[in-house]
């Protein structure tokens, strides 16, 4: 096991989360807006080809935060454009991110099936 990569993932992942925390504390953005901002930033950095350097350096430290999800979308779109042309721009991104989206929806549905609905305490 490559423990230096684990340490690098810890450091970079932590730094990306601190950026999010500063945005929450300083700008009063809602969590939804922060997630949208992170995904869009990741997609743009991925489209420019810069994000892959972060992934090469820290592995999951860059791929696990939502910026990595955005990067995955952009990378997938570009890869598919290379092989399929314009259609690839529409199929590539979602195809690359399909596992994450499908898993979240599926597990979310299962969780709602097994959980008892909470009564909100006001």
């Amino acid at each position: 096991m490559d423990w230096t990569m684990v340490l690098k993932a810890f450091i970079l992942g932590g730094i990306i989360c601190v950026i999010g925390q500063i945005l929450i504390d300083k700008t009063k953005l809602t969590p939804a807006r922060i997630l949208v901002a992170f995904v869009t930033t990741g997609a743009i950095l991925g489209g420019l080809g810069w994000y892959k350097h972060l992934i090469n350096w820290a592995g999951c430290g860059a791929s696990v935060p939502l910026t990595g999800f955005g990067n995955l979308l952009a990378k997938g779109a570009i890869e598919e454009v290379k092989t399929n042309g314009l259609i690839g721009a529409f199929t590539g991104g979602t195809k690359a991110a399909a596992a994450g989206i499908a898993a979240a929806i599926f597990f979310g549905y299962i969780a709602s099936l097994v959980s008892k609905p909470k009564i909100k305490k006001q």
Binding site: F10, L35, G61, S63, A74, V81, L86, A89, Y109, S112
Partner: protein, 154 residues
């Protein structure tokens, strides 16, 4: 206490009374919880690598595993407590995306399985997917137009 007459006075009064959010402490908690989640992902990745699974599939396995853990902890009501403590530390990694789907799915179960669970699941994840996927399509089209990633050489 003297009465408050103007908007400015009121603003300063509110500033005095609202507690300062302890930003350093929040950032510290976000750092180590977020870092820990990414490190856990990296450990799963390394295990996949030693079993000879290729890189792309390994990253997919990492995503699915973390999403499963997040959904499981959300269902047990543990994730919300972690979220309160860690702030962006558990929000920004993919666990936060999973939590944003699972949590409303559970909460709105009483409104039915179609318009409750099915629709409310996407209150936060919907915008994320809309902007993420739209950006990726634009990037794909821009790539066709310029047909190069030459700026990427930087």
């Amino acid at each position: 206490m003297k009465p408050i007459n103007s908007k400015e006075e009121y603003a300063t009064y509110v500033d005095q009374k609202t507690p300062n959010s302890p930003i350093l402490k929040n950032c510290f908690n976000a750092f180590w919880v977020g870092g820990l989640i990414c490190a856990l992902g990296q450990i799963i990745f390394e295990i996949c690598k030693t079993r000879g699974i290729d890189e792309t599939t390994s990253y997919t396995i990492v995503s699915i595993s973390l999403i499963f853990i997040s959904a499981f902890l959300t269902a047990l009501n543990i994730f919300n407590k972690i979220g309160k403590f860690a702030g962006a530390g558990s929000l920004v990694p993919i666990t936060g995306f999973a939590n944003s789907i699972v949590s409303p799915a559970m909460e709105y179960k009483s409104e039915g399985y179609v318009m409750g669970v099915g629709a409310k699941m996407f209150t936060v994840a919907g915008p994320v997917l809309v902007y993420g996927i739209s950006t990726s399509i634009i990037i794909g089209i821009l790539y066709i137009i310029f047909n190069t990633q030459s700026i990427t050489l930087i």
